[in-house]
């Protein structure tokens, strides 16, 4: 188990290292001189230019520049935002909690609604299953920005139940403000999870151990909980984890549509202003969070599935 975690973490570091090269290289080879941004207000003299080049290490070879950049990143120094003048770490902290809340809220919706839909679909074949399949099929084809605009139209502007803008103050108000954004982000994934749940529950229900449990007289609820869901959950978790990256990416769209100031909308604004320190930091952060989630799911898998540890024990 320990060896497994170590190996996965090494793979994670290797991936993150490659991603950091990509992100650094992309910004570096972008057309335009970074000094243009600094001297936007004028005052561009050869001396000042040389001083700035030295200050930002632009006079050094690219490998050295990458090394400086990487060691700063590793020690948690993401530099200063060009547009805001604040430290990037401060910006990320002040915007991060909103995005974290949004992602968690979305995950709760995805897991509960998606699994309930999937279970209902699997347990009630026929008209219920068919209509749910159509609903979830359309849901998977609805990208967050489309869902966001439709939800705003119906529930915010039409019915007036929810606000259209901002993140709110205080817990209840925040929940109220976050509900539509979270639903908008969840729609496509609810469809996906419902379908995966349906398939794996149906697979499990058809397996002999369920039949045996039923013959033993185990109650239907217990069968579902102990013999079906326990086996059906790992593939569902994997899907959630593998889609987490695109879910976090989707916060850019949803936060922009609802005027929420989180990391996603900060990233979008920073791209429009070419505020590279912020772009790099948020990019790396998203990739790191996604990769950690993938590792955690692998570990959870190993813990939830006794067969994996058992086979290891036998090998010893």
């Amino acid at each position: 188990m320990l060896w497994f975690i170590v190996r996965r973490s090494l793979g994670f570091l290797a991936s993150l290292f490659l991603v950091s090269i990509v992100i650094f290289g992309m910004i570096h080879f972008a057309p335009g001189d970074p000094l243009d941004l600094i001297f936007e207000g004028g005052g561009r003299t050869p001396e000042a230019e040389a001083a700035m080049r030295a200050r930002y290490h632009l006079d050094k070879p690219i490998i050295v520049q990458y090394w400086y950049w990487l060691s700063d990143m590793v020690t948690g120094d993401f530099g200063r935002s060009i547009a805001y003048g604040q430290k990037v770490s401060t910006l990320i902290l002040s915007h991060g909690s909103t995005t974290l809340a949004l992602v968690l809220y979305t995950m709760v919706i995805i897991v509960t609604v998606g699994m309930v839909f999937g279970l209902v679909s699997a347990r009630y074949p026929g008209i219920v299953d068919r209509s749910l399949l159509v609903v979830t099929g359309v849901a998977t084809a609805t990208p967050p920005f489309v869902a966001a605009v439709i939800l705003i139209g119906v529930f915010a502007l039409g019915l007036g139940w929810f606000p259209t803008f901002g993140e709110g103050d205080g817990l209840l108000d925040q929940l109220h403000h976050m509900t539509l954004p979270a639903v908008a982000l969840a729609v496509a994934y609810v469809g996906m999870i419902a379908r995966v749940t349906r398939m794996s529950v149906m697979d499990e229900l058809a397996r002999p151990h369920v039949e045996v449990a039923r013959l033993r007289g185990v109650g239907e609820a217990t069968i579902l909980r102990r013999h079906v869901l326990r086996n059906a959950i790992p593939p569902i978790m994997t899907i959630i984890a593998t889609r987490l990256g695109s879910l976090i990416g989707g916060t850019t769209v949803v936060e922009t549509a609802f005027g929420i100031s989180g990391l996603g909308s900060l990233l979008v604004r920073s791209v429009a202003r070419r505020d590279f320190p912020v772009i790099q930091a948020i990019g790396l952060l998203i990739v790191a969070v996604f990769a950690v989630a993938l590792i955690l799911v692998d570990i959870l898998h190993a813990r939830m599935d006794p067969r994996l540890t058992l086979s290891k024990a036998r090998q010893r």
Binding site: F4, G11, A14, S15, L16, L18, V22, M26, I27, F29, A30, P31, R130, L133, G137, V138, T140, A141, T142, P143, P144, F145, V146, V149, I150, I152, G153, L157, G191, M192, R195, V196, R198, M199, T238, I239, T242, R243, G245, S246, I248, G249, G250, T252, V253, T256, A257, L267, V268, V271, A272, F276, I279, G283, I286, V287, L294, H301, A302, R307
Partner: protein, 292 residues
Amino acid sequence: MTASPATPTLPRLARPLGGARFLGKHTAMLVGGGIVACVILLAVFGPLLYSQDPNHMDFGNSLSGPSPQHPLGTDGNGRDLLARLLHGGRLSLVGPLAAITIATVVGIGLGLLAAWYGGLLDSLLQRLLDTIFAIPGILLAILFAASFGRGLTAPVAAMAIAFTPFIAQLVRSATLQEKTKPYLDAYRVLGFSELWIAARRLLPNIAPVVLAQATINLGYAVMVLGSLSFLGFGVPPPDPDWGRMVAEGQEAMQRGAYLPSLLPSLAMIVTVVGFALLGEGFADRLARRERG
């Protein structure tokens, strides 16, 4: 069970509508094919048959409802919605089509290389693909937009990279499966070159599965490009694409006009459903044939 992120779970997660079999043997494929054919025909010939200028502004006539001059009404700048919808279809499809074509060709190449030669090359390619897999497509596209600026180039390049692992992994595992069958060795014994065997005998056998996956990916790519345009990083203004139109329609919605955002939204959903049904119907048919 301790799968690396991209391996055995991939085929399932790459099929959002898995289980569309309820539609009957060929219905999914027929419905999907019908939708896709209609969308493509409208995008190609629509702008030719309906010759209104999609970018002509008429501020005196903004947000007007459907009328003989404007069958679907106008948007916030008084531009004809039907014309924008049709032209938007072109721009919403061309980018994804280019990206998926590149991703499929490159993915086939990488997958074949990895499976054919194995060993160190395989491990290196796996690591590369896993790394790409670790960057969400939309994030990669936003980063590309940051460095290359507005326009279709950045999103197409980003999507081509982001979708390559899906095809490469599929080709790799399909090739590994085919490699266990004796016919490839038979050709080798007969003295045919490795390249000839791979290109002329192996590839045709795995092509249908790859085509099915590419069709499904196309639907995803339409969504990604739409999201980017919604954020303002896709097709540059004033040219329309569906994502942009939804964003512009959001403003119109505040003024009580729902059509400008609703129409492109529906167009997008219908298109994505069409590609998904077509791709998955095709994949299901292949799976059934495989099972016999």
